[in-house]
Amino acid sequence: MSGGSAASPAATGELQAALAAEHAAVYGYGVVGAYLTGTSRASATSDWLAHQVARDALEAMLRSRGAQPVAAAAGYQLPVVRTTAEAAQLAVTLEDRVATAYLGLVAVSATAIRRFGARQLQASALRAAGWRGSTVAFPGLPASSLAAPRRD
C-alpha cells in the first residue's frame, strides 16, 4: 500500500533530521515567547506546543521503526533577540528550518511518512506566515532547488 521499505535507512535519517529541527524549534520558541506579550505571546505558546506535539510524533515514529530518536542539544546557537520584531524574526527562522526538514520527509517514498511531512510542512508554513505577516510561494524549498522561471 505505502510504497518503499518500512525499514529504509533514508527514511530514518530524514525522520531524525526533522526531529532535530523540532528540538531546536521547541528550544527556540521558549526564547521567542520570553520577548513577547499579549496575543503575540499566546501565539508563541500555541506554536511552541504544536512543535512539542510534532516532536513527540516523530519520536514515536522513530521508535516504531526500531530507531533511537536523537536527543535535544543542551543549547542552541540562536540569533540575538532584543525586540519583539527580532523575536518574530526568530520564529520565522525556526519555522523555515522545520519546513525544510519536513520537505525531506516528503521525498521519502513511504506514503504515510510523505503525507505526515506534507501536513507538517503546511502547519509550519501557516505559522511562519503569521509571524512574517506575509506569505511565500515555496515554503521549505531552498531557492537553489527552484529553476529560474522561464518567461512565456
Binding site: S2, G3, G4, A99, L103, V106, A107, V108, S109, T111, R114, R115, G117, A118, R119, L121, Q122, S124, A125, L126, A129, G130, S134, T135, V136, A137, F138, P139, G140, L141, S145, L146, A147, A148, P149, R150, D152
Partner: protein, 168 residues
C-alpha cells in the same frame, strides 16, 4: 515500488494493432501508437491546469475588487504565477507527443458577484487546490512531490489572508 503501467498498455496496443490493420480502414496515423506519456508528465499537466485555473479565478475576482482587496490579492496572485512558472519548468515533454497548450483556460464560470462571496469563492478554491496537490503526492517522484507539497502549503497560507481580506 513503481508500478509498471506501460506493460499492460503496450500489450493492449500490440493486440489492437493487428485488428486495426485487419479492419483495413485508416492510414499510418491511425495505426501509430499514441506517444507514451510518463506518469509525472500527467501529474505536472494536471497541476499546471489547476494553477492556470486559479490565476484565471484571481483575474476574474480582481476585475471587480476594491483597492484594498486588490492590494491583498495581488501578492497571492504573484505566488500562483510563480507556482505556474516552476511547474512549467519541470515539464519535459517526450519527443513526438503533442505540444501542451500554453493558453490559459478561459474565464472561469460561476464567479459570484459581491466582494465577500468572491473572496469566499477564492478561499474554497485555494483549499481545494491545496488538498488536490496533497492527494497527488503518493504517485509522484520525490522532487516533484516536494514541489507539490510546497505549493500546497503556500496555497494553504492564502486561506487566512483571504479570510482577513473578507473581514475588512
Amino acid at each position: 515500488m513503481a508500478a509498471h503501467p506501460t506493460r499492460r498498455v503496450v500489450l493492449a496496443a500490440a493486440l489492437a494493432l493487428p485488428l486495426a490493420a485487419a479492419s483495413g480502414c485508416g492510414g499510418a496515423d491511425v495505426l501509430a501508437a499514441p506517444p507514451h506519456q510518463a506518469p509525472d508528465v500527467t501529474l505536472l499537466r494536471s497541476a499546471i491546469t489547476a494553477e492556470q485555473l486559479m490565476i484565471a479565478r484571481y483575474g476574474a475576482v480582481l476585475a471587480g475588487s476594491s483597492a484594498a482587496v486588490t492590494s491583498a490579492l495581488q501578492p497571492l496572485l504573484a505566488e500562483h504565477r510563480a507556482h505556474l512558472a516552476q511547474l512549467r519548468s519541470r515539464l519535459v515533454v517526450p519527443a513526438g507527443s503533442p505540444a501542451p497548450s500554453q493558453r490559459a483556460p478561459g474565464a472561469p464560470a460561476g464567479v459570484p458577484s459581491g466582494q465577500d462571496a468572491a473572496l469566499a469563492y477564492l478561499r474554497d478554491a485555494e483549499q481545494t487546490a491545496a488538498a488536490a496537490l496533497l492527494a497527488r503526492l503518493p504517485g509522484a517522484p520525490a522532487s516533484l512531490a516536494q514541489l507539490f507539497a510546497s505549493i500546497s502549503a503556500s496555497e494553504a497560507t492564502h486561506v487566512p489572508v483571504l479570510d482577513q481580506a473578507a473581514a475588512r
